[in-house]
């Protein structure tokens, strides 16, 4: 009894390359080719894709970070290089996502400092990097230019393009051959629209990762879950403007009331549960990069993904 699990679909999720090894012109110890799916996640006959990948998020100014993570990671939070190294060696992440939270500071203008931070992180970890750039539209152009230049040849994933705010990031990606994250507010049509805008200014589809925006568990996650399913579904049905891999960043998880107001030892437990449940469901819905902030989530998610990929017969 063999079910037809391609449902008559003929489309394929497009592929995107993250990171570049020495032989590919960069300095990473590995690069990833994600995408390529032809049916529902984890339902392929042979699972060959390395995804879902787990990206551990770090930042360059922890005053804008979750106090739960800050307490847990201790001194590391003041040293992005050491933090990135620990994410690779100890936490077991597949990617590091550096969030440039310093750009949230009022009248931020230390662009050269950002370049040094990116350099330090590149030197401290051999993993491919996601750089989450400016928080202030006015400095987008300088920030993305600096990040793109510093990470030249490394095939970074740069974030985040939105409708009405994508030109600076696209320019940096095009100039230095990086991929970009295209985010839309939980709406498949807006996701498609943004991809078309990016296409029009020359960003190739194999350089785009869709972020359908991840609402926190209990605060709209069901909308994100269905948006991801629908995007995957459209890609498989042949819509080329939605046939890109997806990224899920449940970073709102750590600010919801349940987590914010938890006390004592419960705080870590509930932060991890919230990230973990969201991440697992997103992986099943089709997310191929999953970003988390609590180190304990990485280990559990990794084991769960291994389990999802393992089958003992049909």
């Amino acid at each position: 009894m063999e079910p037809d699990l391609r449902f008559g679909w003929t489309g394929t999720v497009g592929e995107v390359i993250l990171g570049a090894t020495r032989s590919e012109g960069g300095t990473r110890s590995r690069s990833y080719r994600i995408g390529g799916g032809t049916t529902l996640p984890f339902m392929e006959k042979e699972v060959t894709s390395p995804s879902p990948l787990i990206a551990f998020e770090i930042c360059d100014d922890p005053q804008y970070w979750s106090p739960i993570v800050n307490d847990f990671c201790g001194e590391l939070i003041h040293d992005p290089g050491a933090w990135a190294k620990t994410a690779e060696a100890t936490y077991g992440a597949d990617l590091v996502r550096l969030c440039l939270t310093s750009t949230k500071r009022r009248d931020f203008s230390e662009i050269p400092e950002l370049g040094r931070t990116v350099e330090t992180v590149l030197a401290s970890t051999t993993l491919p990097l996601i750089i989450e750039g400016s928080n202030e539209p006015k400095i987008d152009s300088e920030v993305f230019q600096k990040c793109g230049e510093t990470g030249q040849n490394e095939r970074l994933l740069l974030g985040t393009a939105e409708a009405g705010r994508y030109r600076s990031i696209a320019a940096a990606a095009l100039a230095y051959n990086h991929a970009i994250i295209a985010q839309s507010p939980i709406d498949i049509n807006l996701a498609k629209q943004l991809n078309i805008l990016l296409k029009e200014i020359g960003v190739q589809k194999d350089h785009i990762v869709i972020d359908p925006y991840t609402g926190a568990l209990g605060y709209g996650f069901e909308y994100s879950y269905s948006a991801m399913e629908r995007i995957r579904f459209s890609a498989l049905k042949g819509d080329a403007d939605l046939a890109m891999p997806m990224i899920c960043a449940p970073s709102d998880s750590l600010t919801v009331k349940e987590v914010r107001e938890a006390e004592g030892t419960d705080r870590n437990a509930i932060a991890v549960e919230w990230e973990f449940a969201t991440s697992l469901a997103a992986a099943v819905a089709g997310a191929e990069i999953i970003c988390v902030r609590h180190p304990d989530t990485v280990r559990r998610l990794k084991a769960a993904i291994t389990g999802l990929k393992a089958r003992t017969g049909v």
Binding site: L5, S226, T255, E258, A281, V284, A285, G313
Partner: protein, 444 residues
């Protein structure tokens, strides 16, 4: 292939006796064609008509009711693979496991917890659903004692887990009339187990690691007279469960293999990370999930995920429009306007509570649309806000005339000022920043 209503009608007795609950045979036929009625409701069908109609007219996944009384619940009767295609109707029951090797106090404590524990979220009371009693000891006496301990504590739905039909029989003497779920029938023991299930009118889990094996067992049990069935897919990995559960849902809803048209049972305790199995079961079609008693953090996450996934995507949960208080606001307290999408309401309310600034929330009726979508659709407009101010009585509650509106409603600020005569202040886009905003900006 599904039959059309008229084809079905030809096979019905055409007596219009109303005994099925429908006024005419034709309306019954229409319900059958839509998968909304069970052929068994018609007492006058001949065997031929039954066999023709049986497989094609009942809901593609059978509805199975577990337990009796207030806490009983039904699973199955699902129609789609994706919640966005329609909705998922019957959320999975999550059952806490007890072992018959545990002390009576422990068993009673777990059962009482299942009975009492409630998580209130977005206006709904979320609860766990029952107890699964496992015959770990292997003895009949210990098992009967454990079941008795559960029984005396609460009238919750139960799963009876044992390889030993004698232990199940002893348990059924105590709880047989409360529609428990017997776990599990296998190719080796199904005749014995079916006899017990039939005698007491129980629900039955069948267990096999292949789809063919499950379909065969379902047929065998039906032949023995038991059709209230759930299927344990005997997964060894999360991937096994995901693959088999998706395949079964697909084969069942398309009626390709009607013998697989039963709800799915998942024993999460067989996995190293039970939380992972529970989350996977919730999103991928499990109808009964058995787990060890969960930690407070795991319990909250599981109940919340289940609530999210089983929310009807076509009907956003809405708040009643009107004036709500946070704390005990006085005459000079801020008034914050937002929409009646419940998620917006509860998110904002959470941040307002933690800001510890007493205030009023003026909730306007956007039919459950969020701020962003209601502004885009023109549903949120100055007339709506003006009428809401009048109707809510907020004019008698505060002495000032200042209204804080959501950041995403900024384009409406001028028109709202004109229509209401209130001074409009544009708040932040992100509710997380509201506390800071009020501290910085609010002066009555």
């Amino acid at each position: 292939m599904p039959l059309k209503a008229l084809d079905i009608y030809k096979l019905l007795p055409k007596k219009n006796c109303k005994e099925c609950g429908d006024p005419t045979c034709l309306t019954f036929a229409m319900k059958l064609a839509a998968g909304k009625a069970d052929i068994e409701l018609c007492p006058y069908l001949d065997e031929n008509a039954k066999s023709v109609l049986g497989a094609t007219t009942r809901p593609p996944i059978k509805l199975v009711k577990l337990g009796v009384g207030e806490r009983s619940f039904a699973v199955g009767e699902e129609f789609v693979l994706y919640r966005h295609d329609k909705t998922f109707y019957h959320p999975p029951g999550i059952m806490f496991r007890v072992l018959d090797t545990q002390s009576e106090e422990e068993i009673v404590a777990v059962t009482a917890r299942v009975h009492d524990e409630t998580l209130t979220r977005v206006g709904a009371d979320l609860k766990f659903n029952g107890t699964a009693i496992v015959n770990t000891s292997g003895t009949v006496e210990a098992y009967a004692k454990a079941v008795a301990a559960v029984e005396k504590t609460a009238g919750l739905p139960e799963v009876l887990v044992s390889d030993n039909p004698a232990a199940i029989a002893a348990a059924l003497v105590l709880c047989g009339s409360y529609h428990p779920l017997i776990c599990a029938a296998t190719p080796e023991n199904y005749k014995q187990v079916c006899a017990l299930a039939k005698q007491y009118g129980c629900r039955l889990v069948v267990k096999a690691p292949t789809l063919d094996g499950l379909a065969q067992l379902n047929r065998d049990c039906a032949t023995e007279g038991v059709t209230n069935i759930l299927m344990d897919l005997a997964p060894q990995t999360l991937g096994d469960f995901l693959y088999r559960s998706t395949a079964i849902r697909q084969l069942a809803i398309t009626r390709s293999v009607p013998d697989l048209g039963y709800p799915v049972y998942l024993d999460a305790t067989a996995f190293d990370d039970e939380d992972a199995a529970i989350a996977l079961g919730i999103v991928k079609y499990a109808s009964v999930i058995v787990t060890s008693p969960l930690s407070p953090a795991s319990a909250k996450a599981a109940l919340t995920l289940r609530q999210n996934i089983y929310t009807d995507p076509q009907k956003p949960i809405q708040m009643n429009p009107g004036l709500y208080r946070v704390g005990t606001p006085g005459k000079d307290a801020p008034v914050l306007m937002t929409v009646n999408f419940s998620l917006t309401y509860f998110t904002l309310q959470g941040y307002l509570e933690s800001s510890r600034i007493p205030c009023f929330m003026l909730i306007v009726d956007t039919e459950g649309l969020s701020v962003l979508t209601s502004v885009a659709a023109g549903k949120l407009n100055e007339a709506l806000v003006r009428d809401a101010i009048k109707k809510s009585g907020v004019e008698n509650e505060v002495t000032h005339r200042k209204l804080i509106i959501p950041g995403y409603a900024a384009p409406l600020s001028g028109r709202i000022e004109e229509a209401t005569g209130w001074k409009v202040l544009v708040g932040p886009r992100d509710a997380a920043e509201i506390g800071e905003y009020l501290i910085q900006e609010w002066k009555p």
